[in-house]
Symmetry: C2
Subunit: 242 residues, 2 copies
């Protein structure tokens, strides 16, 4: 994966040619110093062609996010009732990682560029926000019938995005050399462990926080070296059977 | 709280006068249509006075965030080793709520304005990002000596911010009539329940997810109606004693 290249194919479509020209100029002369006129001159097309594909110079830096957002929205819309919701949004987040991992060289170049240009950081925050709202919107629907559902949806969506981005940034800092999939699986596994169980009484459930009695499940925390009789007694006490 | 007013005091300092003039004009004529010249004319000061306090027109919409960020940074820097880290960042987030709740009328007006103006939404996202990084930076320090510490820090910080903002927006949508403190306590309590325990083996620990064995503690989840023998067998299996 890390050996693939951002170089344009022999006959790239015009949109790809514009992205390639833009990045060549951004890397050579700086983002702020490069104008749309410079980009279209190098790509050999007119200004109107540029703006047909990209509303602004910022958009050419993130050419695939709109498609990825559309893919994510379609993926979530195609969910079934039996999909575990937290797992489903984790899988949706993996679509973003896949987009980055498809083209490591380009992704690493953009990462460095974005760190240097405040306007691009702001753009990226707005994109991240849109991913987060897509995930939260799906979760709000799934959690609609429970008290605290929007809170749970918002918190889980934010946690998924933060975990994904933690793994993504680690991979980008490795210049795309690390295993992006393994890093994001680990990160999302953490969020699923914290929130991905639907049982009442789970700490991830805002209406049944840890330690309170629940309807059909008990959570028992015991020292590893506890004698068995103590564990049994505690279990019986919790159940009121003792 | 909800009966207090955004009206300027009889003799406000110049900075407050600029904010009051700006909001009067934004509400009467729209944010985009109002210029800095309009604001300084109404406030009766020169342009240089405006830019002494506010780098841009956007900054006058959020006049207290820099102070609040500084307060949060100082609060976190003053933490003690014995402070439970998740509780500490929840308390830090309450500083932001307090800033909003100090002036409900102003906060509600700004909320409506921000929803209408994309540029202000982008500004707000960058502010929220800075709060989140302040919380994550503190947590990264506290979790520095454990594997997965930066992941845990980033996820908890994002969860705290999402919970805070869920409560804040509910309160803003109530026109500042609801009890902001109670809403944020509930929301942050949810995050603390999910992440606020330091015991290894807790699902909030990325290196000891739910169900895996841990160093000194085991977490057992059992159906309330499970027969005792099954619970004992599972406990023994987890411990490798069976």
């Amino acid at each position: 994966m890390s050996s693939s290249s951002a170089a344009p194919a022999a006959k790239p479509p015009m949109r790809d040619a514009l992205v390639a020209a833009a990045f060549q100029l951004f890397l050579e002369g700086g983002y702020e110093q490069t104008t749309v006129d410079d980009i279209v001159a190098l790509a050999g097309v007119g200004r109107r062609s540029f703006f047909r594909y990209f509303p602004s110079k910022e958009d050419v830096v993130f050419p695939d996010h709109e498609r990825c957002l559309a893919d994510m929205t379609a993926f979530l819309a195609a969910s079934a009732e039996e999909d575990e919701p937290v797992r489903r949004v984790c899988d949706a987040a993996r679509l973003v990682l896949r987009m980055y991992a498809e083209n490591p060289t380009f992704s690493v170049q953009r990462y460095r560029l974005t760190k240097q240009v405040p306007g691009l950081r702001a753009y990226e925050l707005s994109v991240v926000w849109r991913y987060e709202r897509a995930l939260a919107g799906y979760l709000r629907g799934r959690f609609a019938d429970r008290a605290g559902g929007t809170l749970r949806a918002d918190v889980v969506a934010a946690a998924v995005v933060a975990a994904h981005n933690n793994a993504l940034r680690s991979w980008l800092r490795s210049d795309g050399e690390d295993d992006a999939g393994a890093a994001v699986d680990h990160a999302l596994g953490y969020v699923q462990a914290a929130f991905g169980h639907e049982a009442p009484g789970h700490p991830g459930d805002p209406d049944h926080p840890r330690g309170e009695g629940a309807e059909d499940v008990v959570v028992l925390v015991a020292r590893r070296d506890a004698p068995l009789w103590r564990v049994v007694r505690e279990f019986e006490t919790v159940l009121g059977r003792g």
